[in-house]
């Protein structure tokens, strides 16, 4: 089976022009994620996780290395990679259903079609009656659910969750995570989950990558059955990862 996304020696520097000092944000990262697999990435704050995400989304170009995405044409996927961010990033001037369907609008899909595509997803997250409302009328948790719909509507090959549940209370986060995992399993999506919650990573991932600072893989953990979301958190493993991350010194350029 071909990986849905493959990173080969990817690195990113910022600055270095106009007299600004060069700063290494991502040193060297390689990994592959297969369809249906959940890869969790943990690492210290500022170690380059969001930079990595931006590169996978095509918002930043890597300074080194390459990213290949196995996007099959005519497979019903609207975007190869979609992301749910830490904050909902909804357009305040668009209604809930328009926000959920935003990716299809960006692709030029007609209004009726994109609304028809978005409604089932809103229904899945329990927001079917809220389609005509504006984001400011929703609670934070509801807004984040809309932003999750916005990603799933695109039916991406690769779904990136960048601290997607970090903003929510524990119970809501747990419910939402379970829902997401169910959908992911059904749709056979490759998932990259960035988090600084080690317990979350251990409970949801098939694999956990621990990043150093600046980003490079310092350790990789394979987590076998039972399936993601049902697994108990292994305290010993949690402590081991915690120590690994803690040891990462503050990086100074």
């Amino acid at each position: 089976m071909k990986p849905a996304i493959k990173l080969t020696d990817v690195g990113k520097d910022f600055g270095g022009t106009g007299g600004k000092p060069k700063r290494v944000a991502v040193r060297r990262v390689s990994f592959s994620v297969y369809p249906g697999e959940v890869l969790c990435i943990v690492g210290k704050s500022g170690c380059g996780k969001s930079t990595l995400v931006n590169m996978m989304l095509g918002l930043e170009t890597p300074s080194r290395g390459s990213i290949t995405i196995d996007s099959k044409p005519n497979s019903g996927h609207h975007r190869p990679v979609a992301a749910v961010f830490q904050t909902d990033r909804l357009l305040p001037w668009r209604t809930v259903v328009d926000n959920a369907a935003l990716g299809l609008e960006a692709a030029g899909v007609s209004k009726r079609q994109r609304h028809d595509a978005a409604r089932p997803w809103l229904e899945r997250v329990g927001l079917e009656t809220w389609g005509g409302h504006y984001p400011h009328e929703l609670s934070g948790g509801m807004r984040q659910r809309v932003s999750i719909c916005r990603a799933f509507v695109l039916q991406p090959e690769v779904l990136i969750l960048d601290e997607a549940f970090g903003h929510l209370d524990e119970v809501t986060a747990q419910q939402l995570r379970q829902d997401c995992l169910k959908i992911i399993a059904e749709t056979n999506t490759a998932v990259i989950m960035v988090t600084h919650n080690i317990a979350e990573a251990l409970a949801t991932g098939h694999r956990v990558l621990v990043l150093g600072k600046p980003a490079e893989i310092i350790k990789e953990f394979e987590l076998k059955a039972p399936g993601p979301g049902e697994r108990k958190v292994y305290p010993a493993l949690r402590d081991e990862i915690f120590d690994l991350i803690e040891k990462q010194s503050e990086y100074t350029a």
Binding site: N54, L57, G58, L59, R79, V81, A82, A83, F85, T87, R89, L91, P92, W93, R94, T95, L102, G103, E105, A106, A107, G108, G126, L127, E128, T129, W130, H133, Y134, P135, H136, E137, S139, M142, L154
Partner: protein, 284 residues
């Protein structure tokens, strides 16, 4: 004018209830005009009128400031003349025309300046320079450059309003949240859809304030330009009054202009309200 509600917001329809969710907020009751809300303004107006009627004639002679009666009579006389409506129509048309042209050019130019570093470096200093040029300079230049009075007026309107809209639009685009912009970019829109989905709507709060300032600027200078050169319009009527030292006439025409501008401002505010229906407004 709507009558005040008989029962203030008594029967609010229950909003749609989604599973376990808080109910959506009910829309704030539409602001209605009522005497009660405007008591202070009306009282102030009454006080001013009383002052005008009884105190002003004692303080200054009629040729410095006319009595209330003179102005009211003059108002009636001016409203009876058919030419008045032609003048008002012409001025309104010039204001709207200048507003629309300057608004469109200003928005396009502002967006272009914000989206392109090179355009910005080249043209931003020019735009800033133009905003610094005194209006009188433009008036004089307009008279020298153009023979057609209509062209002179349009030139003045454009040169005064467009830079204001341009700079406001520019600031509006720059104010767009980078996170939102990145989110939209990650959806892979083409240039046109990028503009439509985030750049233009994101800049609108600033665009509206630019349009409003531009409208009041243009509205006040159009009469200036008309007084200098036109043979119709509120400004040229005021010029005629001035030549006959008719202060009452000047006051009446000023009132008419203020009314025209107020109506246009109300219309613009209505458009703005409609656009901002998504916003939870700050209310002091």
């Amino acid at each position: 004018m709507k009558a005040p509600p008989a029962e203030p917001a008594a029967a609010i329809e229950p909003p749609p209830v989604a599973a376990q969710e808080a109910t959506p907020e009910t829309a704030p009751a539409e602001a209605r005009w009522s005497v009660g809300r405007h008591t202070n303004v009306l009282l102030l107006l009454l006080a001013l009128l009383l002052f005008w009627q009884f105190a002003v004639p004692l303080l200054v002679p009629g040729y410095v400031f006319p009595t209330l009666e003179t102005v009211v009579d003059k108002f009636a006389a001016i409203l009876r003349s058919r030419n008045t409506y032609v003048d008002i129509f012409n001025t309104t048309l010039r204001i709207i025309g200048g507003f629309v042209v300057s608004g469109l050019v200003g928005i396009c130019f502002g967006v272009a300046l914000a989206m392109s570093k090179r355009l910005n470096a080249t043209f931003m200093p020019v735009v800033r320079f133009i905003t610094g040029v005194p209006a009188l300079t433009w008036v004089l230049l307009a008279i020298i450059w153009f023979r057609s009075t209509e062209l002179r007026i349009w030139f003045l309107m454009f040169v005064l309003m467009a830079p204001i809209v341009t700079i406001n639009t520019y600031d509006g685009v720059r104010s767009i949240s980078y996170e939102l912009y990145q989110m939209v970019l990650s959806l892979g829109p083409n240039k046109f859809r990028l503009l439509r989905l985030i750049v233009l709507p994101g800049a609108t709060p600033f665009v509206f304030s630019g349009l409003k300032v531009g409208l009041s600027f243009g509205g006040r200078f159009v009469v200036f330009a008309e007084a200098m050169s036109a043979d119709s319009g509120i400004g040229s009527a005021m010029y005629t009054m001035n030549q006959t030292f008719d202060i009452a006439g000047i006051i009446v025409w000023t009132l008419l202009l203020v009314i025209v501008l107020a109506v246009l401002d109300v219309l613009l505010t209505k458009v703005e309200r409609h656009w901002f229906r998504w916003r939870r407004d700050f209310q002091g």
